[in-house]
Amino acid sequence: MTSKSPVTNLTQRFPEMGTGPIDVGPYRDPEFFEREKEAIFRRAWMMAGRTSQIPNPGDFFVRDVPTFDISLIFVRGPDGQIRGFHNACRHRGNHVCLGKSGNCRAFTCKFHGWTYNLEGELAGVPDEASFFDLNKSELNLIPVSTDIWEGFIFFNLDTNPDQSLQQHLGGIGDALSGYPFGDGVSRFQFSGLIKANWKSVMDSFCEIYHVPSLHKYSIAETLAGPDNPFGHLLDIRTYGPHRTATISGNKDYRPKPVQGIAYAFAQGDAITGGQGVRSDLPPGVNPTKSENWGLDVNILFPNLLPVIGPGMYFTHQMWPLAPDRTVWEMTGFLAPARTAADRFVQEYFMIELRDAVLEDMNTVERAQSAINAGIINEFHYQDHEVALRYHYHVINKALNEFENRAAAE
């Protein structure tokens, strides 16, 4: 099926959501925030990084989890397997790894010199004879539940997760599997502390209604052409708590001078095939197989947005800190530059993306002020903000299900 015209009545596909205003309580209420941390973030599968960051035995990276002020280590062992551990010495809790990434043979706590091998086993304790009944075999690094999907390393802070990663991802995992994520081994990552609720930061990337207005100097024309001036979605697909918002592009867009040269050089070299649309992409990518495809915003519950477009993919990830504070991370994954010209094209793509997001962030902070002050008490979502309305309902459903289950136990 080739669809050119965007669809309508998306919201009515989900009659249980209704079409009324949305209460902003969940975007400012400290009690709601604590419920989210407990019911969702303490037991959700969340992305740590990619396997290509640690290709060889002894390669490691550290993943901070700002929501809980926790530091995790992901390391490839001598057997090639990737494992996750809490970055905390069993002696008195100091970090055993101070670097952000690298290669090592063992992790040694700088406090007193306790040493752990790459499989997390306590291998050495200085002056061990002075301890009392120390059972080293019970003092290995504390493992964190770790699994891999399509080269993305996920972790779960629940030591015994209710669902496997595969069960958690369900249909969206199947729909996106086979996409050449593995080609994107050159990474860039931005991080910022945003003074807004994590859901607001996330939602700002999940609708295009704002694009013709907020992004009028930058990406408005590339996404919203004359035949789709308000950036109506091509489709919304839901998979349990996950969803894909498919955004149209303007294939008649005429690039600016440097932009056009950069785009032309990228053609054919990039991950999904440059300006054209590769025919071998999995069913979940450009799901309507539209000629006017712009990009897909994939929303993986709870906090990961893999955005897939022609020639690239990148992720947004939100880490809640407080009802009105979020650590946001944006990571780009690009095919390695083969030539110096490729490196220019990569930089140009990164700067366009960064500048577009710089246009977004003031809006969420200003809105948070009005929400915090009690001036704004409800949101009014239109049809093409359906992914945001769905988000609100998914979160409430997750809290209710968890709390009902806990009450029954």
């Binding site: 991080s191 100097y217 040269i261 950069a262 246009e359 962030m361």
Partner: protein, 112 residues
């Protein structure tokens, strides 16, 4: 060893090397925001008409540790062009219009 100069044929861009060949993205971002629109436009106007030739030249050069000094400088100019192009082609001012403070976006991983 200090390598000076640009590859043959790009000598006219030499006056921009001292100011616009910078070691990191954040250095280029700060240079953009410390420059006037006249300075940015002068650099853009010198680079844009030569960009096809610059990329044709650089596309014959493997991107690895052995990147020669002259090409390193030419690429450095191109990377600064990437930084300031949106100032010219999108915003008509150095910074993003009504943009968030770019210093609040920390580049925690830079492209290789």
């Amino acid at each position: 060893m200090t390598v000076t100069g640009l590859p043959e044929g790009f000598a006219e861009l030499e006056p921009f090397v001292a100011e616009w060949v910078l070691p990191s993205m954040m250095a280029r971002t700060r240079k953009r925001h410390a420059s006037s629109m006249a300075e940015i436009t002068a650099f853009y106007n010198a680079m844009q008409p030569r960009l096809q030739e610059i990329l044709a030249h650089l596309s014959a050069i493997p991107y690895d540790d052995a990147l020669p000094g002259e090409e390193t400088r030419l690429l450095g100019l191109a990377l600064s062009l990437a930084e300031i192009t949106t100032s010219v082609e999108w915003y008509n001012q150095p910074a993003v219009v009504d943009g968030f403070d770019p210093e609040r976006f920390e580049l925690v991983a830079e492209l290789p």
